[in-house]
Subunit: 357 residues, 2 copies
Amino acid sequence: MSCRVPREGLRVDPVKVAVWGYGSMGSGMAKLIVGKPGTELVAIIDGDPAKVGKPGAGAVIVRNDPDRALAQTRPDVVLLATSSFVADVVAPIETALAAGAHVVTIAEEMSEPWAADAGLAERINQAARRAGRTVLGTGVNPGFILDTLIIALTGVCQDVRYIEAHRINDLSPYGPTVLRTQGVGATPEEFERGIRAGEIFGHIGFQQSLRLIARAVGWEMDEVKEERIPIVSRTRREARHVTIEPGQVAGCEHRAVASAGGRELIRLVHPQQVLPEAEGVQTEDFIHIEGTPEIKLTIRPEVPGGIATQAIAVNMIPKVLQARPGLATMAELPVPAAILGDIRSIASSVVSGGITR
Amino acid sequence: MSCRVPREGLRVDPVKVAVWGYGSMGSGMAKLIVGKPGTELVAIIDGDPAKVGKPGAGAVIVRNDPDRALAQTRPDVVLLATSSFVADVVAPIETALAAGAHVVTIAEEMSEPWAADAGLAERINQAARRAGRTVLGTGVNPGFILDTLIIALTGVCQDVRYIEAHRINDLSPYGPTVLRTQGVGATPEEFERGIRAGEIFGHIGFQQSLRLIARAVGWEMDEVKEERIPIVSRTRREARHVTIEPGQVAGCEHRAVASAGGRELIRLVHPQQVLPEAEGVQTEDFIHIEGTPEIKLTIRPEVPGGIATQAIAVNMIPKVLQARPGLATMAELPVPAAILGDIRSIASSVVSGGITR
């Protein structure tokens, strides 16, 4: 185990960032990086032939040769947005670590990768430690609303008996791929078939959020149950990518419940649908902690998914730069914070569990 | 700068805690410690002759000999609840560090001690580093609602233009000392005289919260203005420790505004009064972030002050046990989390920026 010397004073060089995966999330993060003082977008990597060779954010050319791109540009951090799944991101993470970069990924399963594959998670953890770098999975959810924010709220509780939270959002801004995985536009029968076939799966992240919460507070869960219920529309709902007729599925209400010894501990509910307001449903994030004290928190409307996921991935860069090497989760790093000044001053302000001034 | 070896695996010994300052907050924290698996309350220290020699929480006898008490009981952590001010807690913090203990204090000014006295803060920072221990100031506010929670919310923002937050609470549970410092029961004229004389001062913590937020996001503030406005009652309000007649002061609306170059960045408003519902005012915590995205968060009713301050001080123990040595703030440590299982498993779960399993 090596010990990195804390950085005193202001870092002079800009923080060099590569974006790997140049879809909707990756391109949003790249634009953010270009606009943040103290950062430099040094590489964009994507496998899509339609994008390769063309200029992306900040006129950086999209490349399809990750090893060489990273070796030539030596990023401090790779922002990875290629897949939702641990199994898919192990290889790019190892490539980034080998090039000496920290990694922040929005792969949902990486917010708590042991849930999906403990072996792969440990492999990433060891690779990160050997490289002296940190790997973090984050995003708005999993990563913040239904886990980090809940954990933070329990921090002002003497005791907690039960946690219930829901996130009601609107799928209208999303494209055909996301809509399909939520069953949008299907008949109720097609929805059930899609669930059984694994083609409709609702939210990715409940297992991760539940484990993040349980471990942070020291709860042992012995059972997690998930349900996916079609939200059948009673009205006509017209969105950019889809029109839903009455009787068709407008989305998926995905629920997850964690219990111990038959006692329900945490219930997370995430109804995702197109245009919920068509039936008078207000979008919101809501957290109810039954404990001492009781806490009821509402964010209305909900924190919007795409914008916030891009933001939190970029905003965690200064935290990751200063973290101890290894595979980290949001529950172990300092609270996220917007980057509104030079990233170098933010990344230099914390040096030892305390502050140097 | 020494490098502490991360602790792998489960700690066997209980976490030994001393409570220094056995008033309302200290005794609440002591009771919490007695009830948490994996902790042991080893000492209670207080200077009040009415308490010394008598049993406190867990039948631990209250002592008035801090040096000997700490040397004999060797706590891992001292919970310090003797004063609101940095100048008052430097000596006990140094005593605790000299005895080898980490320190968590609810002294409001310690949530960002540089605001009150940069020299004393640096003295504490150096003492903590030499001792290889961590010192943290926390509480519900300052420490959470109007700073840590705001910072965390900005973490999902791409940009922030302006932050406004208020905390509307009820002073009824508080005793005569707190009520007096808020001007409760005074005439409007007495209130103004009390403010000028420094006997009525409203909330302690705005300077700290504003600096915590500004530094976390990288904002430079060049001006902070505070206002203290009497809340003159229009109704009769009857509480346990005070009865307020119409025309008398029910509390103090304390406001603080941070600006840069004439542009307002952060506005924090904290009206503290006895029985606000007597005039239809609902208690709540409210945070509005004008940015991308815009976020409006409401906690209703507000997180209650005393219970939550005791909770967060105890709940930060596992974070402090694993922090790098020095003077820390809530913005640099992992998000707080309730302790609902054995504190030793929580304190052992994070070892390297990541997790060991």
